[in-house]
């Protein structure tokens, strides 16, 4: 399969009030380039869905946004990513506070093997956000409420987080992420391990969270992208092929590759 070279992204990769701005981002794993010259805005309080076939670089790109790729030694990033006009790859930027601002929810629900309370309290604790126990309790309750989990777990905060069902675990992970009050939440296929009802809950939650947070979600389910997002970005072999409002992408995609992917002609 030949690689599309120097593709100019179709559609509207830029928006009026961007929270995160990627400009000419390239990612290399050793000598192999995984992402080619991606420029994309993620607007404040919007949900942007990143879709594309496996290995297209959408997860890699997402992980660049809070420097999760730093943990991989051979990973190298070019171009710049600006969070509120500040380059997150600038030498003076420390990843620890950055990740507090740009939180992440992972594919597999991964609660810590601790109690539900400690799971949510972990972030505020390590960042020293609270001085008193009652403040911490307040944050935990508020986060669990926002994640729609409070009513289900309020009587068993001391139970292990790993004892919850898959969907509850994922909402616990979301609660844990929002407990440090991030500005952006990155979600890497958050529903791929969940049943449809749990998925629907998470999608509902994403919709509610949009009021307070900027959300970028990678998903393999095109229906999910269509349901939760306002804009959709299509990646193909490390290139950003098309970015458009979601309703447009799913009825009248601009690029033939997008069309072929979302109509199930390859992928």
């Amino acid at each position: 399969m030949s690689i599309i070279e120097n593709h100019q992204t179709d559609g509207e990769p830029f928006c009026d009030s961007p929270k995160l701005k990627a400009r000419g981002v390239g990612v290399f794993y050793g000598d192999k380039q995984a992402i080619f010259d991606v420029s994309l805005d993620i607007g404040a309080n919007e949900v942007i869905a990143l879709i594309g076939p496996s290995g297209c670089g959408k997860s890699t790109f997402l992980r660049c946004l809070n420097r999760m790729n730093d943990t991989i030694d051979i990973c190298r990033i070019t171009g710049e990513i600006l969070l509120d006009d500040e380059d997150i790859y600038a030498p003076k930027i420390d990843v620890v506070p950055l990740r507090a601002r740009v939180g992440m929810v992972f594919q597999k629900p991964n609660p810590f093997p601790k109690t539900i309370f400690d799971n949510v309290a972990y972030g505020p604790r390590i960042h020293g956000l609270v001085n008193h126990r009652h403040e911490l309790e307040e944050i935990v309750e508020q986060s669990l409420r926002r994640a729609g989990l409070w009513s289900e777990v309020k009587d068993r905060l001391d139970a292990p987080g790993t004892g919850l069902s898959g969907g509850q675990q994922q909402r616990l992970c979301i609660a844990r992420t929002i407990a440090v009050d991030p500005e952006v939440i990155l979600m890497d296929e958050p529903c791929s391990a969940l049943d449809p009802i749990a998925t629907a809950r998470i999608e509902e939650l994403i919709d509610e969270l949009r009021d307070n947070y900027t959300i970028a979600i990678v998903t393999h389910s095109m229906q999910q992208a269509a349901r939760v997002s306002q804009r959709t970005a299509y990646f193909h072999l490390g290139q950003l092929i098309e970015v458009n409002p979601t309703d447009l992408v799913f009825t009248k995609p601009q690029h033939a590759l997008t069309e072929a992917y979302i109509t199930g002609r390859f992928g």
Binding site: L257, A260, T263, G264, R265
Partner: protein, 253 residues
Amino acid sequence: MANKGIPVEMNFSQHISGQFNSDLEAIRSQMMEMGGLVERQVANAIEAITTGDTTPADDIIRREDDVDRMEVAIDQECTQILVRRQPAASDLRMVLAVSRVVRDLERIGDEATKIAVHALEVSGSTNGGYCQQSIRYMGTEVGKMISGALNAFARNDVDGALDVVRNDKLVDQQYSAALRELITYMMEDPRSISQAINILWILRAIERIGDHARNISEQVIYVVSGADVRHSSISEMEERAHKDKDDSSSTGA
């Protein structure tokens, strides 16, 4: 915009799911079949009117049920595809368009039946020959429109579809002229009114068939370019159809 180096080895004409391909192909060909049937119905109805021969008229009324059944069947298959495949983009537009087109076809069938019914009434009378010229002309024209729209659908031919829309304008003009002619007859001889009304209904039905053919053409434009051109003027339609078509053809070549 130039070709952006889409991998040529890739074949985008087929879905990964072969069943999906054949499902889509099935509704398309059934719609064409239904179109053919409706087209014949219209042709027969016009023939019945212009020749005064009532045999085709009876035939038309009998076949009306077939048309209705086909509409229901195709519509059901469209629903099935929507439910099972959740089609997107061009597939979605195709399914929606087929569903809308079969409704228009069914209406055309209804109009053909109306013509046949009135043809039976007109055939008995002595002076049933009002506006024969107009009827013949309009009849042939809408017949061509139907086949033109269906062909455009089959070939994804936006220009063919636009031709059909333009022809609808001509049919409408001819309808207005025929209407004035009928009014003249009715003013001359009030006894002819009841007969003239029958002719009026027939003219009206033919004109409606033209409108439905135009609707089908609009769906062709929707399928091909993604532009919803319903309720817009011809110039608007041409502009949007070609603009969107350029966009998608440049990338989708």
